[in-house]
């Protein structure tokens, strides 16, 4: 890890901390949400951006974390932190099972298989509505939304926790991609056969990457549940899988900062657009098409291509 890498990423983290004191209330709330969703995008980026696994099913991992936390808190009165760890476990386990099956396929088939698994997971949530309350979702009881004396429904605490989670995920992802393990993931993405014939167990690495990715996604889902107090099936729907893809592509697939930039950019784009038209998702569509046509590397990817060649 070079000094410049560290300065840049720690700089962002410090900046976000400073924003805690500077942002007006509304944007303060938006940033808290953006940071949690950016953790989800960071998770997705490890599978898609670094390892080249085009998944359309990551919402199931986000959902696994969310429902792991939600069901534990709602039905068993398990407090926030242990519930969150349960959520992580659910995501990791699901990613392992899905990975063992789905990674037997690749490319387009992998995309469809993950899509189908996620759809099945979504339907399972609806099917067990007795426990999950189906589309309606669950409101996490207020007393479960605290870690010790920190009240997660408090705006300031929430921001700082979102910030802490985001910082850990960001640095973890930076460390990972600079680590030899991460380098091999990139090699897999670029040329799997070659990587295999360099002696790397490509199947095992892909599975590991997917499990890491799924676990981080679940961490975000679980955090979202406790921080915002609501667990709903729509978060596990196909749209949230597409969102992850969109954010990462927009920010820059295979860049450490890309996921955050993508979520931030898209959030504000939607926010502005929804004031102009009801069809604000139109913007998402146009952005996706323009990106694939003109900037397949995304915002941070373009910066890397033009200005900063070894940006992680």
């Amino acid at each position: 890890m070079t000094r410049r890498d560290l300065t840049l990423h720690l700089g962002l983290i410090a900046g976000l901390f400073a924003l805690h004191f500077l942002l007006p209330a509304y944007h303060h709330g938006v940033f808290a949400r953006v940071m949690v969703l950016a953790v989800y995008a960071i998770g997705y980026n490890i599978a898609f951006g670094y390892t080249g696994l085009l998944s359309l099913g990551h919402a199931m991992f986000f959902g696994a974390g969310m429902y792991g936390v939600g069901l534990a808190s709602y039905h068993f009165a398990i407090p926030a932190l242990p519930a969150w760890i349960i959520g992580l476990g659910c995501g990791a386990l699901l990613a392992l099972v899905v990975g063992l099956l789905a990674l037997r396929t690749e490319g387009v088939s992998f995309m469809i298989v993950t899509l189908m698994f996620a759809q099945a997971a979504y339907l399972v949530i609806l099917y067990y509505s007795e426990y999950t309350r189906g589309d309606d979702g669950l409101v996490i009881p207020g007393d479960m939304r605290a870690i010790g004396s920190w009240d997660l429904s408090d705006e300031g605490t929430r921001y700082l926790l979102a910030w802490a989670l985001f910082s850990i995920a960001l640095m973890l992802s930076l460390w990972l991609v600079r680590h030899p393990f991460g380098r091999v993931l990139v090699a897999l993405r670029e040329n799997e056969e070659r990587a295999r014939l360099l002696g790397y167990d490509t199947g095992g690495r892909k599975l590991a990457a997917l499990v890491i990715s799924g676990t981080i996604s679940a961490a975000a889902g679980g955090a979202y549940a406790t921080m915002f107090g609501y667990v709903g099936a729509s978060f596990a729907g196909v749209q949230y899988s597409i969102f992850a893809l969109l954010w990462v592509l927009l920010g820059g697939a295979g860049t450490v900062l890309g996921p955050f930039v993508g979520v931030l950019f898209m959030t504000y784009l939607n926010d502005v657009a929804s004031g102009v038209t009801e069809a604000y998702m139109l913007i998402a569509g146009v952005v996706l098409v323009l990106l694939t046509l003109f900037a397949p590397q995304g915002i941070v990817g373009e910066i890397r291509r033009r200005f900063w060649k070894d940006l992680p």
Partner: protein, 436 residues
């Protein structure tokens, strides 16, 4: 009313420590950029309009409701402003699309509370959106008036900041309908309902209500909310069914009712439906002829009734409804009459609450909630065209009259009105004992 908590001056915006830090920073030269924003907070003076945030289902599966909820709300605000506003201040409706999506709805509440500086939020219909957004309202300490008819408010799953003073919940709607169904239509009832929370309110409450009225449920058919073809479900209807009880929601409602007609052909049992199955849908659509002679629940009559009082016609004119309950400018644009009146009434409740609380600024939000909790009888009239209602401050739920209408010549004609007294049930929660 039990007022155990002393009134604390909460800003409802940011925790005090952060605010302190902000102020300190704002005094420094470097933070000049944040000044205009502060100016906005502190200058919320009496000349400012009262802002009411309206979370509109503009897109997604609730869009037809959203459009009419907005029209009704705009008309109500116009009336209120015409009569001098609230506490002498004009009222302004701030509309945001929530996409009929819980996450978006929660964000919209944040926008109302923190960005557009709304005094209250209101207007959500779909129950999953209400359930998703209500916790945020509680955290933001933003009074949240929903118009949803879901049992979620009165069941106690929400919080002190969320109330439903404009529309009766499903549980009491059903208890009002059950005696009519068993007495007039038949004892053996098969129910068809959407397989999601709104449908569960029906599922869970109909059976006891029908049994209490001397009937029985012989069949219960849940249909997934995304379903687009329904015929294959109808064979599950037991042959000895005397009454079909149906309630459906979403874009496929017309298909549902049409295919039900095609299934039964000439030998249909009695049919009793919640008008939700045909809200925003023209009763004269091809394929619906078989509905003639069937019955519907209505929260407020869609068609102009012969004996309609003046305040009802005034309400209908203000919203822009023709005699058939469609838009005066487009007869094919049918309204959601049975639900949208709740926006009108809720806005009048907000007005009455603010006046009772002497509402001045967002600092008085808690007083507003307490003022509404103190309300009881709401007399029928220009503010309550849907009929005389009783508000229960403990459960945050209103109880109003329910209408049973029969389809006659393609129009709904009210057969029976059930007064609010017959719709009450024992309290399941006491929100007033909860802290703010």
């Amino acid at each position: 009313m039990t007022e155990t908590t002393s009134k604390t001056k909460t800003s409802g915006l940011i925790q005090p420590t952060r605010r302190g830090a902000l102020k300190t920073l704002a005094m420094g030269a470097g933070a000049a950029a944040t000044m205009p924003l502060w100016a906005r907070y502190t200058s919320a003076q009496s000349a400012e309009p009262i802002r009411i945030g309206f979370g509109k289902h503009a897109t997604g599966i609730g869009a037809a409701y959203g459009r009419w909820y907005e029209r009704t709300s705009v008309a109500a605000i116009e009336k209120i402003n015409g009569e001098g506003g609230i506490n002498g201040r004009p009222v302004e409706l701030v509309t945001e699309d929530d996409g009929t999506d819980p996450r978006r709805a929660a964000e919209v509440l944040e926008k109302f509370a923190n960005q557009s500086n709304c005094d209250v939020a209101f207007g959500t219909l779909f129950s999953h959106v209400v359930v998703g957004a209500a916790p945020r309202a509680g955290e933001l300490k933003l009074p949240y008036f929903v118009c949803s008819e879901g049992h979620h408010v009165a069941s106690g799953m929400l919080n002190r900041w969320t109330m439903q003073p404009g529309i009766t919940d499903v549980k009491s709607q059903i208890s009002a309908m059950a005696p009519f169904i068993t007495d007039v239509l038949g004892k053996k009832v098969t129910m068809i309902y959407p397989d999601y929370a709104f449908g569960y309110d029906h599922r869970d409450n109909l059976a006891p209500a029908i049994e209490a009225a001397g009937g029985e449920i012989v069949g219960s058919i849940a249909i997934p909310p995304t379903e687009t073809s329904f015929t294959k479900y109808f064979p599950q209807i037991p042959r000895d069914t005397e009454v079909i009880y149906h309630v459906m929601i979403g874009p496929a409602v017309l298909t549902f009712v049409k295919e039900m007609g095609e299934f039964f052909g000439p030998s249909r049992p009695e049919i009793f439906g919640f008008i939700d199955s045909l809200e925003a849908t023209d009763l004269t659509s091809p394929g619906l002829e078989f509905l003639d002679g069937t019955y519907f629940w209505e929260g407020m009559p869609r068609y102009l009734q012969d004996d309609a009082p003046d305040y009802v016609t005034a309400y209908r004119d203000a919203v822009g409804l023709d005699a058939n309950g469609a838009s005066v400018s487009d007869p094919s644009d049918v309204s959601t009459s049975a639900h949208m009146f709740s926006c009108w009434e809720t806005l009048h409740v907000i007005k009455a609450g603010m006046e009772a609380a002497g509402y001045q600024s967002t600092e008085d939000r808690q007083a507003l909630i307490e003022a509404v909790e103190a309300m009881t009888l709401m007399e029928a009239g220009p503010a309550h065209p849907g009929g005389t209602k009783m508000f229960n401050g403990k459960t945050h739920q209103v109880f109003g009259p329910q209408y049973i209408s029969k389809v006659e010549g393609g129009k709904l004609v009210v057969q029976k009105t059930v007064d609010y007294e017959e719709t009450m049930y024992p309290d399941e929660v006491d929100y007033t004992s909860m802290s703010f």
